[in-house]
């Protein structure tokens, strides 16, 4: 099929397009979820089709306007229909009047031609029934929920466990000769126990709520979580929340453990460094960014301990691949260096607008039927080379709160004013972890918060987390992204109880 795609890209170029990308994608997903001894969700989903993006010249100006079309299927007719419609859409987009200096036609940063293939390393193929049968996975999830209920005892109300696996095969050919073939496999899962005592309810999830623990790979990602082996601890923590005091309100030192810090990075670092948001192109739905382009290299984002990197070559990440959906090779790009804002997540278009020589390779589409847009890859907080472990960080904290995994999240449209709630927190007194605190929340303003970071943990406690469902775009696209971090400490943070 690669030859067909390459031929189609060349035809689009000959038809007058400045640039063309022709993509075929086959998408497979398996979801299994159990709750309280019953199968709650069990399905296999397959989808395939062509997505074609064309840059058509704007009359009288350098650059062009994008048009995108997608058609289901694997055949020549569907490919032809997608190409024809993409041309029509791009011509129409190029005809719209432009208003003001902020409306330049699209120019693309240079990218060398790539030809090659990439595949996620998979130990246990989740789509191979001989090694990952539905029955065996159901048995694992069922055992996890039974263990949660058993350890939860009479106050256990509901237990659930879930797993999802996804495989995408992407073929991309561009009019400048790039031809890449990628197979990406992501897997993972998690579990949750809800407990109840009179009017009071609580829950704990493992390893984190919503998506659980997800990474690049096969069923081995789920197996490594050892759901059953963690059930007793999860149940104990859930039960302890029923009797715990509310998190006291005030300003204090906060240590964020990695399941929470990953989401903090996602919302307050990942999204604001998306270059399309910085240019205001997502303002109609998701919002914009306080990291305006004129602030690049001049804005203090955080303390000297804060080093954030966009990394699409990290081993095992959901944002790891060979090339992005524009055919730009995977790479590492500093976003924040010693607290200074130094980079963006970019496309070829936004890199050109920023005056950068190359794209950061951060463009992806959810599937064949969505337009490629700037997305996070693995946006991670670099561990301090000789940084402390979580226990050492706690021992070094005389008074404060340790926040566990996330329960709620909210941030404004510029990614400044945030509030997070966590499932659990622990009081820190005299360098020791004390009593459990219920319904903890904390909030702040992004650059002030990151400027209050006075310690980042070392490599020993570094973990690369994954999120399946980062929402962006209109129509909404859900994207798999990664966030690596070790625990970090922040001073003078506003905390309280939700």
């Amino acid at each position: 099929m690669a030859a067909q795609l390459a031929d189609a890209a060349r035809r689009l170029r000959r038809a007058g397009a400045i640039h063309a990308e022709v993509r075929h994608l086959s998408d497979e997903r398996r979801q299994i979820a159990v709750r309280d001894g019953r199968v709650e969700r069990l399905f296999l989903a397959r989808s395939s089709g062509f997505g074609v993006r064309v840059l058509w010249p704007v009359t009288g100006q350098p650059g062009g306007a994008w048009g995108f079309a997608a058609r289901a299927g694997d055949d020549e007719a569907s490919l032809g229909a997608a190409c024809d419609e993409a041309l029509n859409v791009a011509r129409a987009a190029a005809s719209v009047k432009r208003f003001g200096p902020a409306a330049p036609p699209v120019l693309l940063a240079e990218e060398e031609t790539h030809v090659g293939s990439y595949a996620t390393r998979v130990e246990i193929d989740p789509f191979d029934e001989t090694v990952a049968s539905v029955e065996s996975v159901l048995a694992l999830l069922d055992a996890a929920t039974r263990a949660l209920l058993q350890h939860g005892g009479p106050r256990a109300r509901t237990a659930s466990a879930h797993t999802t696996s996804r495989r995408q095969r992407k073929l991309l050919c561009t009019s400048d000769g790039t031809s890449v073939d990628q197979t990406l496999v992501h897997s993972g899962g998690g579990m949750r126990l809800g407990v109840e005592d009179g009017d009071r309810v609580a829950h704990r999830s493992y390893p984190m709520d919503l998506d659980g623990g997800v990474g690049a790979g096969g069923l081995e990602v789920l197996n490594r979580l050892d759901l059953v082996g963690n059930a007793a601890r999860v149940a104990d923590e859930a039960l302890s929340l029923l009797d715990a005091p509310l998190c006291p309100a005030g300003s204090t030192t906060v240590i964020l453990d990695t399941p929470q810090l990953a989401l903090q990075i996602h919302e307050s670092c990942g999204h604001p460094t998306e270059a399309d948001r910085a240019f205001g192109e997502e303002v109609s739905l998701a919002g914009a960014s306080f990291l305006l382009p004129e602030r690049l290299g001049r804005f203090r984002y955080g303390s000297v301990h804060v080093n954030l990197t966009a990394d699409s070559v990290a081993d095992g990440g959901l944002g790891t691949f060979g090339w992005d959906d524009e055919g730009v090779a995977a790479r590492r790009t500093p976003l924040v260096a010693r607290g200074q804002h130094v980079g963006y997540l970019t496309s070829r278009e936004t890199a050109s607008r920023l005056g950068l020589p190359r794209s950061g390779g951060c463009v992806r589409a959810e599937s064949w039927n969505r337009v490629p847009i700037v997305r996070m890859v693995n946006v991670s907080l670099e561990p301090a080379p000789n940084g402390p472990s979580l226990d050492e960080l706690i021992a070094d904290t005389s008074d404060g709160v340790l926040m566990g995994c996330n329960r709620s999240w909210s941030i404004d449209d510029l990614r400044l004013n945030f509030q997070f709630g966590c499932e659990i927190a622990w009081e820190l007194r005299g360098g020791k972890r004390g009593r459990v605190l219920r319904n903890p929340v904390y909030g702040g303003i992004t650059p002030r918060f990151w400027s209050s970071c006075d310690a980042v943990g070392g490599p020993a406690d570094y973990r690369l987390w994954g999120l399946w469902s980062c929402g962006k775009g209109d129509p909404m696209q859900l994207m798999a992204v990664g966030h690596g971090c070790a625990p970090a400490r922040f001073r003078d943070v506003t905390v309280g109880a939700g």
Binding site: A288, F290, L414, Q419
Partner: protein, 450 residues
């Protein structure tokens, strides 16, 4: 492929297949043009059909989704779904729809002009929108979308239902150049339309609404956090309703105890209902859900008291309890279960202008941003930000205000509702296929935190 052809394909695939089978299909053709900074940024045209085959072996149900439409592909999906069903233990399931209940009458909104509207038509429409906003020195952003959706469900037990609808959406955000949105210097206006003619006729007024509100947002003042009386516009109300639907109005939330619905619930006199059939105030209609279950009006909150929760065939053993709320097979957000997707806040008797007068000293909120309702679901405790138009109102005069964060137990806030408008607007979700029919609502003592 139209909805009738789609249904015929499902019928053909079912023919001669043994066992209990359901085929559910959702097809769409969607044209979208997004714009920002005075130009188009993305324009696309997408066609797809998703078909879900489910096979029940007793109370064991397996499901396989595909977008391959041939009869042989669908039969392969049926076979695989049967294989998945065979590998699981007995669960809870009340059978596939038998088609005996007639398909309810729902205004079928099919506009041929909307079906024909292509990228050129969208581009021409946008010229006017950009002229109205960007031509007056503001930045314009937003989207124009046209959609043609086809639904079909066929079961081995006799259900044969299909439906088609067209709709359009226009969202316009106008922002003062050089001023950050969170300073309050932006405004959004948007609407859903049943026909291209209506969209074309109203696009200038939507753009003008956004422009005028943005111009009124110049030099916003800081309002101190604390309790403020608020007049919530329909877009703000819709964000709250969407989270209520997600955390409390589904059968699973009732079962696992996380819902706020309980016999002791008291939430003022607020009435919320799901009505996919009546087309009130131009609400898009839907006669059946993805399982073929006929839709009906369901009261979820009845004058502040708990009503019925939304259910589907995997959340109840009793077919008589079905409400027709199986999630769309293409809606990944709602895969956690049945939720109401046509939520209405019952219309009040107040005029909007009277509500603003009765607000006295308070805040007029056009829109919320990034609401989250997971803080404490039993109290429906939510947090969020204001966005795209916050005004301090005093003595009948509006002054632009800087955006604020709020945290509010919503059910408690419902007991402080002092006025609900007669006029309502249809608001579409940014997250899912849900739509909301919402009035302006006057609430005393809303808690702003920072």
């Amino acid at each position: 492929m139209n909805h009738e052809t789609l249904l015929a394909r499902l019928h053909d695939a079912l023919a001669g297949q043994p066992g209990e089978i359901e085929l559910s299909a959702e097809g769409s053709r969607t044209g979208t043009t997004r714009f920002a900074g005075g130009r188009t940024t993305q324009s696309g045209d997408v066609e797809n059909v998703v078909i879900q085959a489910r096979v029940a072996l007793g109370k064991r149900v397996g499901a396989v989704r595909t977008n391959a439409l041939s009869v042989s592909s669908l039969r392969q999906a049926i076979a695989e779904a049967g294989h998945l069903a065979a590998q699981q233990p007995e669960g809870r399931f009340c059978g596939f729809d038998d088609g005996k209940t007639p398909t309810p009458v729902a205004t079928s909104q099919i506009d041929p002009a909307l079906c024909d509207a292509d990228a050129v038509a969208r581009a021409q429409l946008l010229d006017g929108v950009l002229e109205e906003v960007s031509g007056h020195g503001l930045d314009a952003a937003g989207l124009v979308m046209t959609g043609d959706q086809q639904l079909a469900v066929a079961t081995s037990t006799g259900c044969r239902r299909s439906f088609r609808r067209t709709e359009a959406r226009l969202d316009v955000i106008a922002a003062l150049r050089g001023q950050a949105a969170s300073d309050g210097a932006s405004a959004r206006a948007g609407a859903m339309f049943g026909s291209w003619a209506e969209l074309a006729a109203r696009a200038p007024s939507v753009a003008a609404d956004a422009r005028h509100t943005a111009e009124a947002s110049r030099s916003p003042v800081a309002v101190p956090p604390g309790e403020h009386d608020v007049l919530l516009e329909p877009s703000a109300v819709a964000e709250v309703l969407e989270w209520l639907a997600l955390i409390g109005f589904g059968a699973r939330a009732v079962e696992d105890g996380s819902t706020f619905l309980s016999p002791t619930l008291e939430a003022g006199r607020v009435t919320l209902y799901d009505d996919p059939l009546a087309g009130e105030d131009g609400c898009p209609t839907l006669p059946f859900d993805a399982e073929g279950t006929p839709k009906r009006r369901v009261v979820l909150l009845d004058a502040g008291r708990a009503g019925q929760a939304a259910s589907d065939r995997l959340t109840t053993d009793d077919a008589s309890m079905l409400t027709g709320h199986a999630a769309s097979i293409v809606d990944e957000i709602s895969e956690s279960g049945a939720v109401p997707q046509h939520l209405h806040w019952a219309a009040g008797t107040d005029e909007v202008a009277d509500l603003e007068a009765r607000l006295g000293k308070g805040l007029l909120v056009r829109r919320f941003h990034y609401v989250n309702g997971l803080l404490d679901t039993r109290r429906a405790l939510m947090t969020g930000m204001t966005r795209d138009g916050l005004f301090s109102v005093a003595d009948g005069k509006r002054t632009a205000a800087r955006n604020l964060r709020w945290t509010e137990p919503i059910l408690s806030a419902f007991s402080r509702v002092e006025g609900v408008s007669r006029e309502r607007r249809v608001v579409s979700s940014g997250l899912s296929a849900s739509v909301f029919v919402c009035p302006w609502v006057l609430i005393r003592g809303w808690h702003f935190t920072s």
